[in-house]
Structure formats: structure tokens, C-alpha cells
């Protein structure tokens, strides 16, 4: 599927994404406001838990931790939505042809939309803590865009292979949980042993969370080396992910 085709299908993709959001918040009295309330409650609880348990000398720790969680949440929700996106639409996929990339992409968009809501809440937290970000925060959208590409690159093969191998979703959930601890969310990456830092520097999500912290809270632009590593690894993941998706999609759809 080319970018142009993708653009032509934009109404369909956004419809899928919004329908997913609707299903999530269906039957709730305050409906749409859940999209704000959920991250607000979650972030508040996490803030109290982490700031009271951890002794830390991280500057702006509450904001540090909230931003880390938001960035990691986008990744975990996005890939998990993507993973379930085809199984959830099996009736649609077996009754009409449409580009099979669409469920995974719209799952990534659903998580992106939720992240935007969470970032709005984050803005409120910044005001509460009277934190004024510098202009380096303007790089944050680019970092999020990179994360989005990473999520799509993982979601495409996950959406497909979880049809054939139903245990992928359990394996992936565990990996996401391990990843949470291997990502600098409630600690700074420099407390890790040297060798681990070296290995993790090839993890795009590790770098993305680091960069988000730097540009938002510490007036620091990411180093060229980190940017290059992240872009290259994300590109490789996307390329391989999309490649195996293309190769196997026709066969695996028949198993739905």
C-alpha cells in the first residue's frame, strides 16, 4: 500500500480508530470525558505512588515520570491494539476486501489519539508545577512521529501472526512489562550498568523516552548518535515488519 492509497483511505482509517475509542468508552455515563479522566486519574495515582516511594534526585521528578509513562503507554497500547486489530475485525476481513494494513494502522492511531489526550493532561500538570518548557519541546512531535512509525512497524506483523499463533498476545504482553523496567521511566538511564546502557541504546523505545525527557524537561536536544541509532533501528523494524506482513498476509487471512 502506497502513501497515496493510504491517504485515499484516510476516512476509513480514522473511522476504525474512532470506533475503537467509542467501543472502549461505550455505555459510560460521562462517555467522551473518560478519555480525559482516565489518564488524569492514572497519572495522579502514579504520581503519588512513585513520588512517595522513591527517593530520587531527578529534577522535576513528577513530570519526568508522567512523561515517561505517557510515552511508554503510547507504545504499549499501540502495539497491543495493533496485535488485536485483525482478530477483533475478523468478520469484516472475511467478508470484504480492503487493504489489510488498515487495522494495524488504525490501532496505532487510536493509541496516538489517547496519547494526545494524555499530553493535554500533562500540560495541566506542567502548569500545576509551574514548569515552563523551553523551545526544545518543539522537537517532541517529531519524537512522537518516530514512535508512531515504530508502533506501526511492530503492529503490522503482530496483527497478522497473532491470528495464527494465539499465544503471541501473552508473550507480547510480558515483553511489554519487561520493557517498562528496561526503559528510563522512573529512573535515569545513567544509573544502569555500562554494558546494559550500551545494549539498550539500540532499543528505539529506550531512546525515544530518553529524548522526550530531554527535550521537554531539560532543554537538551538529543545527540546525533542517539537520533541516528533510533531512526535506523526503527527503519529496520518497520522494513522487516512490513516485509513479512506482505509476504504472509494472504495465507494467514484464510485462517481467520
Amino acid at each position: 500500500m502506497t502513501i497515496r492509497e493510504l491517504w485515499r483511505k484516510r476516512t476509513l482509517i480514522s473511522n476504525f480508530a474512532i470506533t475503537d475509542l467509542r467501543i472502549r468508552y461505550r455505555n459510560s455515563i460521562i462517555g467522551f470525558f473518560w478519555t480525559f479522566l482516565e489518564p488524569l486519574l492514572m497519572l495522579t495515582v502514579l504520581y503519588f505512588v512513585f513520588t512517595n516511594i522513591f527517593e530520587t534526585n531527578i529534577e522535576n521528578f513528577p513530570l519526568y515520570i508522567l512523561l515517561g509513562i505517557i510515552m511508554y503507554n503510547m507504545f504499549s497500547k499501540g502495539t497491543i491494539f495493533g496485535l488485536n486489530s485483525m482478530i477483533a475485525r475478523s468478520t469484516v476481513l472475511t467478508h470484504i476486501y480492503f487493504p489489510r494494513e488498515i487495522p494495524a494502522i488504525s490501532g496505532s492511531i487510536t493509541s496516538f489519539i489517547m496519547t494526545v489526550f494524555e499530553l493535554i493532561i500533562f500540560g495541566i500538570f506542567m502548569m500545576i508545577f509551574q514548569f515552563i518548557p523551553t523551545e526544545t519541546i518543539l522537537v517532541l512531535p517529531l519524537i512522537i512521529a518516530l514512535e508512531f512509525i515504530l508502533i506501526v512497524g511492530l503492529s503490522l506483523p503482530l496483527s497478522l501472526f497473532s491470528i495464527r499463533y494465539r499465544d503471541i498476545q501473552f508473550i507480547w504482553t510480558i515483553l511489554i512489562q519487561i520493557g517498562f523496567f528496561l526503559t528510563p521511566i522512573f529512573y535515569k538511564s545513567d544509573i544502569l550498568p555500562e554494558f546494559l546502557q550500551e545494549i539498550l541504546s539500540y532499543s528505539p523505545i529506550f531512546q525515544i523516552v530518553n529524548m522526550a525527557h530531554d527535550v521537554t524537561l531539560y532543554n537538551t536536544l538529543p545527540e546525533i548518535e542517539s537520533v541516528l541509532k533510533t531512526v535506523i533501528v526503527t527503519g529496520i523494524i518497520f522494513g522487516i515488519g512490513y516485509g513479512i506482513f506482505k509476504k504472509y498476509q494472504a495465507k494467514i487471512i484464510e485462517e481467520l
Binding site: 476516512t11 476509513l12 473511522n15 476504525f16 470506533t19 467509542r22 467501543i23 475485525r89 468478520t91 469484516v92 476481513l93 472475511t94 467478508h95 470484504i96 476486501y97 480492503f98 495464527r164 499463533y165 494465539r166 499465544d167 503471541i168 508473550i171 494472504a250 487471512i253 484464510e254
Partner: protein
């Protein structure tokens, strides 16, 4: 007849039939070590060639497992063929046995909008059609009801009515009308006749021989993935029935 609506050439399709289903990574790893063959291939369609003319009503008959539904899914683009070529001229709507692929946790309205978008309509175009769809399906009061609360008949009516209102050039019907009641079936037959009278094409799969005899222009009889007979409906129906009696 002006031109061909669907052309199928030397179409073949194999499926894996599993002796033991390996649906986890763990099982596949264990399985690949033991190297026991856990599936075999079944030729669901074997070198099938035919064409459907524009404005024709074309019947496909055959026993369960003869490959009828697979053929329809290949024509609809849901499955990919192993060999052979399929050419479809015009907008094609597959109305398969379980409807159009609606999601039961969405309302009738949301499903219709989603379906329209899947077909490539603009959102505004679908919104213009929704009232007509609900009216024809006699479901005006249930537009905002989730499909899981629909009866089988309501579901079938909604699917059929949506398929007709989006004005396809080619309509595929796979046993889709059996769930409606008599009055709706009559309405559906009238709609199909009107559709055909407008020069549109209908491909129908059914186990009921009467509509094939009365309404179809031509038919094929599929048996074990091969075309056993093709031509006049009366002749094809007879060779299908004879085939049964011989067994």
C-alpha cells in the same frame, strides 16, 4: 449482452487441512522438531474457467464442500488464488452467508457507515443513503441498536438492504436470504429482479433449486472443485440432481 462482468480463468486454490491444529508458537517449535506432517493439501478449486456476462443472473450449485464459497471469496478478493486469473468489471458486493461483515458490537448505523467507507464511498454519500437502507430493511426504529441485539432475520434484512442501496454493478449472494421471512424474501426477490432489469449482474449460490430454474440465465455445477456442468439452468440442475441419484 454487452461485455463480461466476471471472467475466471484456470483458477486453482489449495487449502491446508490440518490433522492437528498448531495455534501456538510453542506447539510449532515442538512440532517442527518432531517433523511429523501435520497437514495435507486439499484442492478446493481445480482449474476452473467460466465467465459471467453483464446483466446476467448466474447460479452456482453443488454439494457442501464443493468449493462454492471459496470461489465467491476469490472473486470478491478476500482470498488470493494459487493459480489462474480473475477479472472483475465493476463494483462488486459480496453478500455472503453471514451478512456483509458487520461487527456485532456496533450499532446498525455505525456498521452501515463503516461498510460504505470500506467500499470507498464518501461519508456524506453514505449518510444520504442510511434512511433508505433502514426503511427498506424495515428497521427504522433500530438504527441505533447494536447488532448483537438483532435477530437473524433483522440482521439478514439489514445486510441485504445495505448491499442493494450501495448500488453495485455485480451482486454476489451466498445463501444470504434464507433468514428473512416470507414477505421480506418476496421483497428481496423483487429487488433482485429490478436490479437485474437495470442491466446489473447477479451471482447466486444456493441449495434451493427453484430460484435457479426460475431466475437464473445460466448456471454451473461445481463438484470437488471442478466444473461438472455449465449452461442452461434446467440442464445444470438436472445433472446436479442426477449426480445425487447415482450415488
Amino acid at each position: 449482452m454487452s461485455g463480461i462482468a466476471v471472467n475466471v480463468e484456470n483458477l486453482s486454490k489449495k487449502f491446508r487441512v490440518f490433522h492437528e491444529r498448531r495455534d501456538s508458537i510453542f506447539e510449532s517449535i515442538i512440532g517442527s522438531v518432531s517433523r511429523k506432517k501435520f497437514y495435507e493439501y486439499l484442492n478446493v478449486l481445480d482449474d476452473v474457467t467460466f465467465s459471467v456476462n453483464k446483466g446476467e443472473m448466474f447460479g452456482i450449485i453443488g454439494k457442501n464442500g464443493a468449493g462454492k464459497s471459496t470461489l465467491l471469496k476469490l472473486i470478491s478478493g478476500i482470498f488470493e488464488s494459487d493459480k489462474g486469473k480473475i477479472v472483475v468489471n465493476g463494483k462488486l458486493i459480496p453478500l455472503l452467508s453471514l451478512g456483509l461483515g458487520f461487527q456485532v458490537d456496533l450499532t446498525a448505523r455505525t456498521n452501515v457507515i463503516q461498510y460504505g467507507l470500506l467500499l470507498g464511498f464518501e461519508k456524506k454519500q453514505i449518510l444520504d443513503k442510511i434512511d433508505k437502507i433502514m426503511q427498506f430493511a424495515e428497521l427504522e426504529k433500530f438504527a441505533d441498536t447494536k447488532l448483537k441485539n438483532f435477530s437473524a432475520g433483522m440482521y439478514a434484512r439489514l445486510a441485504f438492504s445495505t448491499a442493494m442501496q450501495v448500488e453495485p454493478d455485480i451482486l454476489i449472494i451466498d445463501e444470504a436470504l434464507s433468514a428473512g421471512d416470507v414477505s421480506f424474501q418476496q421483497k428481496a426477490f423483487d429487488a433482485i429482479n429490478a436490479f437485474k432489469a437495470n442491466g446489473k449482474t447477479v451471482i447466486v449460490v444456493t441449495h434451493d433449486m427453484n430460484p435457479v430454474r426460475q431466475m437464473c440465465d445460466r448456471a454451473i455445477f461445481l463438484n470437488n472443485g471442478k466444473i461438472e456442468d455449465i449452461g442452461e439452468p434446467e440442464k445444470v440442475v438436472n445433472s446436479y440432481l442426477n449426480h445425487f441419484h447415482q450415488q
